[in-house]
Symmetry: C2
Subunit: 229 residues, 2 copies
């Protein structure tokens, strides 16, 4: 017990809700807790913030230690400080959400996680601590934010078809979109680059591939453009 303070301090943690997308739908990455409390229960990856690392660095480090994920898109969600949310002591957690391209990332459990697994959003186990609520908040933020910021592209491969793009929005927003309107809207914004390539290895007629043009999006945004789906 080497560290002494004049006033009692809450412990500070980071927790990160990781979303991924594959042909089956939206997924969340959970870890099985190897230690008490909630030993054996599924939880959002996370852990204690070191006194000499930034909050973002803590979230990235914990993700890598517990799941093997590196270099993911990550944003702060909110900070939760409910008094009794951890049975051990007062713990305030800075919650993050992350979006990953499932095709690019391999997942592996490590340190105090027994196992790391992707779960379907519509088939989640009951989580440890208040992680059900944090996950729900992250899902609401994702649903709201994909509509006015181009973060959804973080879930897609770098090259995608318009069908894949529409499907991503339909899965996240949980409703069908009109194909003609959707294409008109997304192409009209001028933030997609049409590639000289079509998709490979498909049974149906191979569709055109597109790429999200981040530089053009930034340029347009500076001129007052608003992304909106």
């Amino acid at each position: 017990m080497a560290y002494k303070y004049e006033f009692a301090r809450p412990a500070l943690t980071v927790d990160c809700v990781v979303f991924g997308l594959d042909d089956e739908g939206l997924k969340v990455l959970l870890i099985e807790r190897a230690l008490e409390p909630f030993r054996g229960r599924w939880a959002i990856p996370g852990g204690f913030v070191r006194v000499d690392e930034s909050l973002d660095d803590a979230a990235l480090r914990e993700l890598q230690e517990e799941t093997g994920l590196k270099k993911v898109f990550l944003e702060q969600l909110c900070t939760v400080g409910t008094l009794d949310r951890d049975p051990r002591e007062r713990v305030v957690t800075v919650a993050y959400y992350a979006l990953v391209r499932l095709s690019n990332h391999r997942v592996q459990a490590a340190t105090d996680a027994r196992e790391a697994l992707w779960f379907a959003m519509d088939d989640l186990p009951t989580l440890a601590f208040d992680h059900d609520q944090i996950l729900e908040s992250a899902y609401e933020r994702l649903q709201a934010k994909v509509r006015y910021q181009p973060i959804g592209f973080e879930l897609l491969p770098n090259k995608f078809t318009l069908r894949q793009l529409q499907s991503m929005y339909e899965i996240i927003l949980d409703r069908e979109l009109d194909k003609r309107n959707f294409r008109k809207k997304i192409l009209g914004m001028g933030v997609l680059t049409e590639l000289d390539e079509v998709e490979a290895d498909v049974a149906h007629r191979a569709a055109r591939l597109y790429r999200f043009n981040k530089a053009e999006y930034r340029r347009l945004t500076k001129q007052g453009f608003n992304f909106e789906i």
Copy 2:
């Protein structure tokens, strides 16, 4: 030095950017620091989180202690944990923003603040710590959020004219709005109640007063309605 922990812990604070609106424009409530560091400099009200209080309670308590403000509209903004943001030690702060009706609230300095004063947004002093950046983030959040959530009403008197309402949006968004389009849009949403009253004590022709109908807004939102200015 009564509190001992196995690992070093960052100190945890809350800071709150308080916005108010009067005839002259958008205002921010600042306190003059009575203690080191940054003694004599202006800062956002805030202070240390007690181990037995929630984050929201800490923000409300600090606001009341330092400025006398009670029962304000308050929302979490973000949490800032940059390593060197406080010269004393590692301090992580949960930043809030608050909106108050200037007509309803009286401000008074207290505890470790020498003085609490409203400053015009376009005439701010350089602030202590990283409070300039936190204030800038809060202003960006306010500008973005007034457009898709009816939080702007928190800055107006309970009864207001359409002219006051439009002026509030013009001040926050920092651009002129077309009067006819604005009235059509806001009245078309069906979230204003037209009152049987007109404004009092004005030189020009007294205009109709309106009230924001929160119950109706909630009912419409459940049906999928999106507030949008």
